[in-house]
Amino acid sequence: MDIMIVDDERIIRESFFHWFQKSGHKVATAASGKEALEKLAETPFDLLFVDIKMPGMDGIELLAAVKAAYPETLVIIITAYGSIESAVQAMRIGATDYLLKPFKPDQLSLVMEKVVQQQKRQSEYNYLKGRLEKITRFDNIIGQSPAMTAIFELITEVAGADASVLLAGETGTGKELIAKAIHAKSPRANLPFIAINCGAIPDTLLESELFGHQKGAYTGAIQERRGFFEVVNGGTLFLDEVGEISQKMQVDLLRVLEEKKITRVGSRQPVAVNFRLITATSRDLEAQIRAGDFREDFYYRIHVIQIDIPPLRKRREDIRLLAAHFLKKFCHETTKRVDRISPLASRVLETYDWPGNVRELENAIERAVVLSKSRLLNDSDFAFLRPPPVTATPGTSLREMEKYHIRRILDRHEWNVTRAAKALEINRVTLHKKIKRYQLKPAGGKIGSR
């Protein structure tokens, strides 16, 4: 342990020094509060013994300063008989314990035991907190895959910078959620967050939504209206599906980003605006640029920082965690008691490809919870995720039936070809040939090796 003794009396400092030296602790000393703070600024200390009565900065002042700047450093207050009052005050502002000088040797060992306990609790707490909040949870964004963990770190990093952020990922991967998290962690957190789905609004409407309009600017503009650029008022503007914006609109937006000024539709008076821009796309913007559908200058403006969010099928280790999260959420909302997902159902969820990503998973869990009649979600509760089985109707070919049956058996045996072949009562070579002929692929992209 790194210990510092702060006392204006040399013999007290030496006494402590010799005692702690015998326990193998590293001990530094300071003759005043000022000297103590100087040493703390240079190297970290685990524990400080602070005399309450010192000329200049007294022990209480030093304690307060230490607790404010180095909350993890523990402080033991040393006081003489007769100043119990200040010891009590010290405990209130964060001292771990106090000692009345002189004290019995075993009182000091008791205090040290308490310090060790507190340090252990602190480090356990930090560890757990770190695990829960950093790795599997970031605000309300769930994920434990390396990709999501890296995104959590990026969010924190990017939030402080005021640069434009482009979020790239398939629909339903959580782009809006991440945009909100960046806003919530940024200095603009207390100002508005406005999300606009550019793909859902026709161009002319988008223009008046963003820029606002003067009374009578066009037929139907009965009243003067402020646009989102003004309403956002220093906050964050989130433009989803930015790849859907027309070329003309891209030029207008580029001008706003450069000039930080807008002009309402039907007006000539420019108004200064202030906002942070976050955009999102599920399209490949670079391909759109090559095809001439997206302006390169606008692209460079909006993707100062780019965060790529992988589709759910590329981070299957998040599925179980997300499913549990949504299960809890919907049980809470529907007051239904469904607590568990069966192992078989979990496997169905983990092997499904989720073209609609997290949104589709969320909807699937909601549907299963609403329809479930038991406390346990079974694989049959997720039957709707699979394409309807081929049933033998007079019109079904033998080839179709065989393909379907082989796929089903392979799925059941987790694509372990040896076991599937045994179940089908054919040999492995034949099964491999049939897999090739029917172009069968496992849902998760993996083939069992044993």
Partner: protein, 196 residues
């Protein structure tokens, strides 16, 4: 002088000195334990007077730091380590009292019988119990003189005991680790050369 032989080796490695009224029997018991446990040559010296400047008149106790300093200067060359035995109460500036005191890697260890002979409630323990405690403290403090640190094993002599109760509970042995450290130190100092 040849560098390989330690000039202290011809004399005793450890001297046990009773001060003022400290029991010479206790001094002999300590000497026997030190030679028995550490396999060192030990001698018991005749009683000496307590350095008078160590008395703190206000506290009516003797200052352990002052005693160590004075005794160190008096016995500079005549032995490797000194165990000074007292029947007066010892203190340090931070502690109300100490049973014993030594500096890490120092030359002089203090042992006080004062609080071992009578309990706070006025009763007195049997003599052999007192002698046992004194020997434990002497071995513990000698351990510090030989650079041993406090040990987490509460059965080890290097476990820190702040009260006679915990002292009575600690074993009469150094643990494996402390024993190894002790041997290494003694070999380094040229006090023993058996590679056991």
């Amino acid at each position: 002088m040849s560098g390989s032989t330690n000039p202290d080796r011809a004399k005793s490695a450890v001297a046990v000195i009773p001060y003022a009224g400290a029991s010479t029997i206790a001094a002999k018991v300590i000497a026997a334990h030190v030679s028995g446990y550490l396999n060192l040559t030990v001698e018991t010296r005749p009683p000496e007077k307590i350095p008078p400047d160590a008395l703190d008149k206000r506290r009516r106790q003797y200052n352990a730091a002052t005693l160590i300093q004075t005794i160190e200067s008096m016995h500079r060359k005549d032995c490797f380590k000194v165990i000074a035995l007292f029947d007066v109460d010892l203190f340090t500036p931070i502690f109300t009292h100490v049973f014993g005191e030594a500096r890490q890697n120092g030359r002089v260890a203090l042992v006080s019988l004062f609080r071992l002979e009578s309990h706070m409630n006025g009763s007195s323990p049997p003599t052999d119990r007192v002698l046992e405690r004194a020997a434990k403290i002497a071995l513990h403090e000698l351990g510090h003189l030989l650079d041993l640190l406090h040990c987490d094993d509460d059965r080890c002599l290097m476990y820190f005991s702040g009260s006679v109760d915990t002292l009575d509970q600690t074993g009469f042995n150094f643990c494996r680790y402390c024993r190894t450290a002790l041997r290494r130190k003694l070999r380094q100092e040229g006090i023993i050369d058996t590679p056991t």
